[in-house]
């Protein structure tokens, strides 16, 4: 049973020069307990997808079609008040990019964690603070730090604080956008370990958005690769990394260096991602693809099952 089902989602940004097709016909499914890694280069629409699910779009972002079904309820059609009352924080919460700057500098971290609890649940301040303390214990900071200010914490601790905040109202889905990008290697490993343990303990579902495939390989069980507003490949983490089918996925994985095993050649993809104001016809990757055929220039490839169960890919090389 899928917890979250995104079907043919389209979200465009309206600009002076036309629509920027940031999320264009994106579909995927997330089961309970799954950790989905949404990967791709900057500007491919991964953050836009997350903001659409959270309904935190800027004024010029417009949902032009598709469904987001969360627990059998379509949240696209829902009005803002309803979504805020019933879903945001309580069912779906978020960890944003740059935890360093996501915290208010002059409010105790305990109060900041208590804030969504007070706003969304019918509890008093005392009880909310008690729960905030428990959450701080849970993420490994300790309830004794409840009256600290963000500047008194290190980067890793701030990241954990933001994680605690996301857990405040017991959500079933957490969307984390580049949760560890600003952290150093060793602290990042600590935070990721803590996040993995929490996720298992609480049977959380997560969507982790990152450009760093190495990090996703260690944290997720499913991977979706996005390119120019579309998901081009989707599958289990092992099948994506071991048997990538889309040329873009293969090249992208090959671009990440490794510290284990023999040294291999790093791959690179010539050129740069297309302008989403006027995306190329056919397959959006065709200009940079070394296997591009005539059909790729004109016809858009459909998502088809390939290479095993639940491994979907949109490429003309499959079945051609």
């Amino acid at each position: 049973m899928a917890l979250l089902e995104v079907k043919n989602l389209k979200m465009y940004f309206q600009t002076m020069r036309g629509y920027v097709k940031a999320v264009d016909d994106v579909s995927f499914e997330l089961n309970k307990g799954d950790t989905l890694g949404l990967a791709g280069e900057s500007g491919c629409g991964k953050t836009s997808t997350a903001l659409t699910i959270l309904r935190l779009l800027p004024w010029n972002g417009e949902i032009l079609g598709g469904e987001i079904v969360f627990d059998d309820v379509d949240i696209v059609g829902m009005n803002d008040d309803q979504f805020r009352d019933k879903f945001r924080w309580k069912r779906i919460s978020a960890i944003f990019q740059g935890a360093m700057n996501a915290l208010h500098p002059t409010i105790h971290i305990g109060d900041q964690i208590a804030e969504p609890i007070i706003a969304h649940e019918n509890v008093g301040k005392k009880e909310a603070l008690e729960r905030a303390g428990k959450l701080l214990d849970l993420v490994g900071i300790g309830a004794s730090m409840i009256n600290r200010y963000p500047h008194e914490l290190s980067g890793g601790m701030k990241q954990r604080t933001v994680t605690a905040m996301a857990l405040a109202c017991n959500p079933s889905l957490i969307i984390a956008d580049e949760p560890t990008t600003a952290l150093d290697v060793i602290v990042r490993a600590q935070v990721l370990k803590a996040m993995r343990e929490l996720q298992q303990k609480m049977n959380l579902s997560m969507i982790i958005i990152s450009h760093d495939l190495s990090m996703l390989a260690e944290t997720c069980n499913k991977i979706a690769i996005m390119y120019a507003g579309k998901i081009v490949e989707f599958g289990s983490v092992v099948s994506i990394f071991k048997e990538p089918i889309h040329p873009y996925t293969a090249k992208l994985i090959g671009a990440f260096p490794s510290v284990v095993g023999p040294k291999t050649q790093l791959s690179s993809i010539h050129g740069f991602p297309p302008d989403l104001l006027n995306p190329p016809s056919g397959c959006r990757f065709h200009a940079r693809c070394s296997y591009a055929m005539e059909v790729c220039r004109t016809m858009e490839p459909k998502m088809v099952e390939a290479g095993g169960k639940e491994h979907m890919v949109a490429c003309h090389l499959v079945g051609a």
């Binding site: 280069e41 990042r188 990394f241 071991k242 671009a255």
Partner: protein
């Protein structure tokens, strides 16, 4: 000094005074100092690529800036082909040296002047240092370096402004500006960390091609030890202002000796979900560089800590051939 050495650093130190308020300045006897770089020594041979690796705040960027004398050193010496860079007082002499020592900065979105065209950006160092004799030579050198960086045809790019270029192209312009002088020594501080993974290795390959073409020595400063593996001949690992391990790249990656290096490498995520990893995650975060721990600076987090580590600072010693480690675990 032997002929094949390009840069030699001896006991280099850089302390920054901590900014204090007026009252505390009056009250305290001594100004606290950040020990950004504390007594490091290393050598970069001719045509060698050395990687300086460490977490943020370990002093790697400061080290790079000291080498080019973009910062004055507190103590210690930096020799460029036998010439003491820290002792130069004559501005003209320093200027002549700048022709031979160049730098590439991290962020191509900030290091290029948005109001200058690509041609002017690349030609500026040639003009400032009066390298080109005439306009024709100037043009030739700019075109050549653009072609080396595969920005072809160069005519298409020289009239553009930085905002008309993609991130990868901008960084190529930043590289072009450094290489148009054909430097003997080049330092790059995280030159590709702002770029997307898909174009990172392309830009690196072009950069390395130029390093080879001009027989330059190269100091590559990075936090990404996995990427350093693909670039450097040797690696030096820094922790809290000190170099704690140095040696040939593959030896360090596959068999790190210092416990910090070991932890650093095991913390690097691997793009392979089936890879078997040792699960050493050390606790805590890097201590403050204002009051660095006594003895070995890593002792507060080290899983193998002994009594001696807390009091005595370990000396750098050659444990195996070409492998230098500063750790009490090993007896030289």
């Amino acid at each position: 000094m032997s002929q094949d050495v390009c840069i030699e650093v001896q006991n280099l130190k850089k302390y920054f005074p901590v900014k204090m308020g007026f009252v505390s300045t009056l009250m305290s006897k001594r100004v606290p100092q950040v020990h950004a770089v504390d007594d490091i020594s290393f050598v970069i041979k001719k045509e060698e690529i050395l990687g300086l690796v460490g977490e943020s705040g370990c002093g790697k960027t400061t080290t790079g800036r000291l080498l080019l004398r973009l910062l004055p050193a507190t103590a210690g010496k930096v020799y460029f082909k036998g010439l003491d860079v820290t002792a130069i007082t004559d501005e003209n002499e320093m200027r002549r040296l700048r022709r031979k020592m160049q730098i590439i900065f991290q962020d191509p979105y900030e290091s290029l002047n948005p109001r200058m065209g690509v041609f002017d950006i690349i030609a500026e160092p040639l003009q400032l240092l009066k390298v080109a004799q005439n306009l024709e030579e100037l043009r030739e050198r700019v075109m050549e370096v653009l072609e080396d960086l595969e920005m072809t045809p160069p005519e298409e790019y020289i009239y553009r402004f930085p905002h008309e270029l993609s991130g990868g192209q901008r960084q190529r312009v930043a590289i072009a500006r450094a290489f148009v002088l054909r430097p003997e020594f080049l330092m790059a501080d995280e030159p590709v960390s702002m770029l997307d993974a898909s174009i990172r290795s392309e830009v690196l390959d072009l950069l390395l091609g130029l390093v080879k073409k001009h027989h330059s020595s190269f100091l590559y400063i990075t936090h990404d030890i996995a990427l350093a593996r693909y670039i450097c001949n040797r690696i030096a690992v820094m922790y809290l202002g000190k170099i704690i391990e140095k040696g040939p790249t593959e030896d360090i990656i596959l068999k790190p000796l210092h416990p910090y290096t070991e932890a650093l490498i095991s913390a690097v995520p691997v793009p392979d979900p089936t890879a078997k990893r040792s699960d050493i995650v050390i606790k805590g975060e890097v201590p403050s560089a204002i009051n660095p721990p006594s003895g070995c600076r890593f002792h507060t987090r080290c899983p193998y800590v002994m009594q001696v580590c807390k009091t005595k600072e370990p000396k750098m010693a050659e444990i195996e051939k070409n492998r230098y480690v500063a750790c009490h675990k090993y007896k030289a």
